[in-house]
């Protein structure tokens, strides 16, 4: 039967993700990692993986567990797996981070932590991908947004496998010419599959459906949507080709990279133009805060892609770092924070008021949040993102740390808003005595027969 229920573990994924984001921002504000240290230094790798695995991947997996069933109209296959996946990823991440620090001689920890952590992460991501793929395959037909998610899941598997191989090289378990080639050319591929293939494509897929749903706009099925999808597929194919050549010949394939870059630029351009079309054809006149915030997130995708092209053209390392910062924290992270603002309220509303619908006056979803209070923190977050990226380009460590501290403040205040929504703290007086849900693990819905 085609139906979707509240995914019981999604909020646990979101909580873990937010803890990782806060930790990463705090470390950066304290001056750990880039730009105070080198781009490939162990502590930079700690911060980068806290953000990409801890914050962004957990956020995306939690969101997919809730929204893939909505996208394809089927319940999640094997619903008992999400806590297992969460445990694998969290323990894997913890070991991986210890492994990076071990490279620095931290407490004489064994560097094998890297390989072990990578293995647990690979296991967690594989189980997640299999579960989500099985859910996709159980659908009667696959809408195009689900195609983006499928490409994203494939990239996740490649990124995780490549990551585990890199971890083994760093731990000294793999040697020879291949390991040298992998460290030289593989890191960029690992990042491209992770940030580009997995996170960006999955975010595109989810946002297509969420944006059209929240704006009450007709689904996009036109030329631009197909162009975005097929260009993304070609870009991913090019990236896979570059990887194959690297494995076979230990050398980089610049033609493949150029093809990937062009196709990726086309995909991003088509996607942004398509989303702009969605905003134009919307039937809701006024934009809610999360939909206004999403515009900032999408703009960051354009900015980040532009910076990346500039960095690859000029070979400038600071610009490359700024591009990754904007793509990870501005586009993916920013979009994540604004969507969380709506999703947390929506899931809480569904949990608390769905059983009462039609039987008593229920509040609107918007009543669970106070947009006026949250708006300044979103502005602070995105402004700090721009300031931080600018500071990286111009090499100002102090400005970067101040901007990151402000960004952290914005995130903490937004988390406070999410918690208030969960606690029903902003509801009008009429519902003040309504029973509060649990903060993280929603109660399973009782199928009342009455």
């Amino acid at each position: 039967m085609q139906m979707a229920t509240i995914s019981r573990w999604t909020l646990a994924y979101f909580s873990g993700a937010l803890v990782a984001l806060v930790s990463a921002l705090a470390l950066m504000a304290l001056g750990l990692g880039y730009p105070s240290e080198g781009l490939m230094e162990p502590r930079t790798l700690v911060v980068v993986h806290l953000i990409t695995i801890g914050w962004l991947s957990l956020l995306m997996l939690g969101a997919l567990m809730q929204f893939l069933p909505v996208l394809v109209g089927r319940e999640l296959v094997w619903p008992k797996l999400p806590p297992v996946i969460l445990a694998l990823i969290l323990s894997g991440l913890a070991l991986l981070l210890c492994g990076f620090l071990a490279l620095d001689g931290w407490h004489n920890a064994p560097v094998e932590f890297l390989t072990l952590g990578g293995l647990l992460l690979l296991a967690g991501f594989c189980v997640a991908a299999v579960m989500l793929f099985a859910t996709l395959l159980s659908a009667r037909s696959l809408p195009l947004p689900a195609g983006f998610v499928a490409l994203g899941l494939l990239s996740l598997l490649v990124a995780a496998t490549l990551g585990e191989t890199l971890a083994s090289v760093l731990a000294g378990l793999v040697g020879g010419n291949f390991s040298v080639a992998l460290v030289m050319h593989g890191v960029g591929l690992h990042a491209a599959f992770g940030l580009g293939g997995w996170l960006t494509l999955a975010a595109m897929g989810v946002s297509y459906r969420l944006v059209s749903m929240f704006l009450v706009a007709p689904e996009r099925k036109g030329v631009l949507t197909r162009m975005a999808f097929w260009s993304a597929t070609i870009a991913l194919g090019g990236l896979a080709g570059v990887l194959m050549i690297l494995i076979a010949t230990n050398a980089s394939w610049s033609l493949g990279l150029a093809l990937t870059g062009l196709a990726a630029a086309l995909a991003i351009g088509a996607y942004l133009a398509d989303i702009a079309g969605l905003y134009r054809t919307r039937r809701r006149a006024r934009l809610e805060l999360h939909m206004a915030g999403a515009v900032a997130g999408m703009a960051m995708l354009g900015l980040g892609a532009g910076l990346l092209a500039w960095a690859l053209w000029t070979g400038s390392q600071p610009v490359l770092a700024a591009a990754i910062h904007v793509l990870a924290l501005g586009w993916l992270g920013g979009l994540g924070l604004v969507m969380l603002y709506k999703i947390v309220a929506f899931l809480t509303w569904l949990e608390c008021f769905a059983p009462h619908m039609g039987r008593m006056i229920t509040p609107r979803v918007q009543d669970l949040v106070c947009e006026r209070r949250a708006a300044p923190f979103f502005i602070l977050y995105f402004a700090a993102e721009l300031a931080g990226a600018t500071a990286i380009v111009f090499g100002s460590d102090v400005v970067f740390r101040i901007a990151t501290a402000l960004q952290l403040l914005g995130v903490m205040m937004l988390i406070h808003q999410y918690v208030r929504a969960r606690r029903l703290a902003d509801l009008p007086e009429a519902w003040m005595d309504h029973p509060k849900p649990r903060l993280i693990l929603p109660a399973t819905r009782q199928r009342s027969v009455a």
Binding site: A4, V70, L215, P218, F346, G358, R445, R447, A450
Partner: protein
């Protein structure tokens, strides 16, 4: 016709317990038109009056060892569903309410549809037009005992949903 739901309260009675709650729980769980087959250690006379008030007739058969089997069957079919069976949309009457939810943002369609259903008697049918498949509405309708059929129109832009109201609590 669905098979009668079976409920054996003999273990409760033998342990000195009170089976009335279990019996009422089972009755509330019955699908429209479904009967209840009850096993007890005695002929449950007081229950016959209660069940008659709820629209059930009975057929009591003595079993070996002094136990009884009683089959309660609904006597009158509720008004409005003379030939309408929830599992067979072909048998449903024409819709008496129409709702256009295509311009509503989520979760408003869900609120409107459930509010309408609350005001309808069992067996009555409503029709709703939506911008997308209301996947979060389905579990709620299932929990409340409503039956539905739905599909996308030919060009896939609107979702057509026909709902047969279930029994009100």
């Amino acid at each position: 016709m669905t098979d009668a739901l079976e409920l054996d309260v003999r273990p409760i009675l033998r342990n000195g317990g009170e089976p009335f709650g279990a019996i009422m729980g089972a009755i509330n769980a019955l699908a429209p038109g479904q009967g209840l087959k009850l096993y007890a250690t005695f002929r449950p006379e007081p229950l016959f009056t209660v069940m008659a008030a709820k629209g059930f007739g009975y057929e009591a058969t003595p079993l070996e060892g002094g136990d009884w089997q009683v089959l309660f069957m609904p006597t009158a079919v509720p008004a409005g569903s003379a030939a309408s069976r929830p599992e067979d949309p072909e048998s449903w009457p024409d819709p008496i309410h129409y709702l256009d939810c295509t311009d509503m943002d989520p979760p408003e369609p869900m609120v409107q549809i459930l509010t309408q259903l609350e005001a309808m008697s069992e067996g009555e049918v409503m029709f709703a037009l939506l911008g997308r498949e209301p996947v979060f509405l389905f579990p709620e309708m299932q929990a409340r005992g409503h039956a539905w059929v739905g599909d996308f129109d030919a060009d896939g832009t609107s979702y057509r949903l026909m709902i047969r109201a279930g029994r009100q609590p």
